[in-house]
Symmetry: C2
């Protein structure tokens, strides 16, 4: 039938099944001559190792789990690409789970991962409760937090400095001479939004200015282009436009841009505009968008490397909380030449 086992390979090569296993897992322990014979038999019979049997005996699989909050968001997609490529290069497969912001779905995904006895889990948690992960770690499943800081020292995490990103953005606007800045944030229940806002405030203070008069906060109900356009329309209604707008998200920024351009406002001369994330579209917009770039792909890559190091070298592994620095990308929307 379709299923050819280690035993048949052994018979074909004239050795015992144990030797086949050695060829597969510790090739250096087997004499070159027999190794060659075995490899030939494997090819002739089209043998492929039964991963489940392997996992059952070894106690752990060569699969890692990845649970993200929103598979539709380019940020997470880029992270996922980094994870997939890194894991694949090291011989690991990736099981993908999309929690879609729902805790119930996240729980269910983690349960599936536990059933599969995955080697480890990468997760961008929906909330701040660390209890769920302990449940996994009791089962010898390593966990690395992605885009979320670890609460405990014996836990790896990979994040990007959101406070620093907010600071950069607003410092840039201040440097261009803006003194009445609007910060259009997303829901402040989102940690990233809170920190970017904090960074914005710090930049104002660092410049020796008064935060309350310099920075006006507007909280959008969602981080979408539609919400951004609505926010822009409300600004226009008040009659007093800010000199610059810092959006917590490129999608918001794109919406604001559209709203302003439709009303005949000149960007960047009347109002300067900067977003966050540097999604592909930021560069392609009618007025190309200045933004804060995050090393998304690298985020996934490093998280995966940390996870697999923790799995493969449990003795020497040192838990790390890595924080990347974002990068200011200047384009037309804050007055840079294209």
């Amino acid at each position: 039938m379709g299923t050819v086992t280690i035993k048949e390979v052994a018979q074909r090569a004239g050795v015992s099944p144990g030797t086949i296993s050695n060829v597969l897992n510790r090739p250096e322990r087997v004499a070159p001559a027999t190794r060659k014979r075995v490899e030939e038999a494997i090819r002739e019979l089209g043998f492929v190792r039964h991963g489940s049997a392997s996992t059952l005996r070894a106690g752990h699989s060569r699969i890692i789990g990845l649970s993200v909050m929103d598979i539709g968001n380019p940020f997470f997609t880029d992270v996922a690409a980094g994870v997939e490529e890194t894991a694949s290069a090291l011989g690991y497969a990736v099981i993908l789970g999309n929690s879609a912001g729902s805790l119930a779905k996240e729980e269910r995904n983690l349960r599936v991962l536990a059933e599969q006895r995955v080697r480890g889990v990468l997760i961008t948690p929906s909330d701040d409760d660390p209890a769920r992960f302990d449940q996994l770690r009791e089962r010898d499943i390593s966990v690395v937090l992605v885009d979320h800081p670890a609460h405990r020292p014996d836990q790896c995490s990979v994040t990007v400095n959101d406070v620093g990103g907010g600071q950069m953005a607003v410092a840039h606007l201040l440097g261009r001479g803006a003194r009445r800045i609007c910060h259009l944030t997303g829901p402040l229940t989102i940690r990233q939004c809170r920190e970017r806002k904090l960074g914005a405030e710090q930049a104002v203070i660092a410049a020796g200015l008064d935060p309350t008069s310099t920075l006006e906060l507007v909280e959008a109900p969602a981080m979408t282009a539609r919400a951004g356009q609505q926010a822009a329309e409300r600004m226009l209604d008040t009659g007093l436009l800010p000199e610059a707008v810092f959006c917590a998200n490129d999608l918001l920024a794109v919406g604001v841009l559209r709203g302003l351009l439709l009303a005949g406002v000149n960007v960047p001369d009347d109002v300067a505009l900067i977003g966050y994330d540097d999604i592909d579209f930021a560069a392609a917009s009618t007025v190309s968008l200045s933004s804060i770039r995050q090393p998304t792909y690298r985020l996934g890559q490093i998280a995966t490397e940390l996870l697999l190091d923790e799995c493969d070298n449990p003795g020497t592994h040192a838990h790390q909380q890595i924080m990347f620095q974002p990068e200011l990308v200047l384009r037309e929307s804050t007055g840079s030449p294209r």
Copy 2:
């Protein structure tokens, strides 16, 4: 330690391990009273089934594989979301593989999936060679093709009518009175591009017009916004703008839009513009973009349902080649009110 087995649950509930297995797999065969006792024991001990042991014994897993061409493309992301959600609801996990257009990576991904003895595979193949899938099917792994037509009647596939989509787009432009239309396509090695182009030509013929004088073909080297903008700049250089442009892709269309607007061309009054895919950004663009919408999420959903039906009911399953119809979405770039 962390690992609690069926045996311990059995002891706790005062039954044999076989009964636990029955509770998990055929609950109706066990008396309500004992079932309740077992379920309680499971909860108390925090038992979770060992997926690999289960797979080994049962001969198949509760995992399906998904191999896509480009995880960064919103089209595939949306398909993946449909797959993930549908599979998850039916108790299946999804292993994600990104072939990134490389056949070698695709091969490697399929190998990993074969090792895991996945229940089935959803794949958007990089080329037209059907031999690779036969290799899987010999191992009792079902295969459903996504966004690619099946060559054989005993093979399921789910596609979207690309010829029809091209037809719709150009018919709409003709209906607005355009008689000099530019079709900006992507590389014609891509099947989808070839078919959309064919549809465009058919629409012209159906309107009783001459294809060669009505439709000008421009082939972009890539389907990106940058390539679109460059194409627009070349059109402007010639001095003779078309009355309308049909792009094989929204990203191309966004680039064209940017190029035209920067040159002071009015869209849609001077040049009408329509894209393909209806990515989120199409609606958010400065001049919102008319486009051809594909039922991406549903594509993933139906493909998954077909696959699991083929797995669970091998007797009654009827292989199907399903083709969805795309949908015309009208916005400002072809003159519709916003």
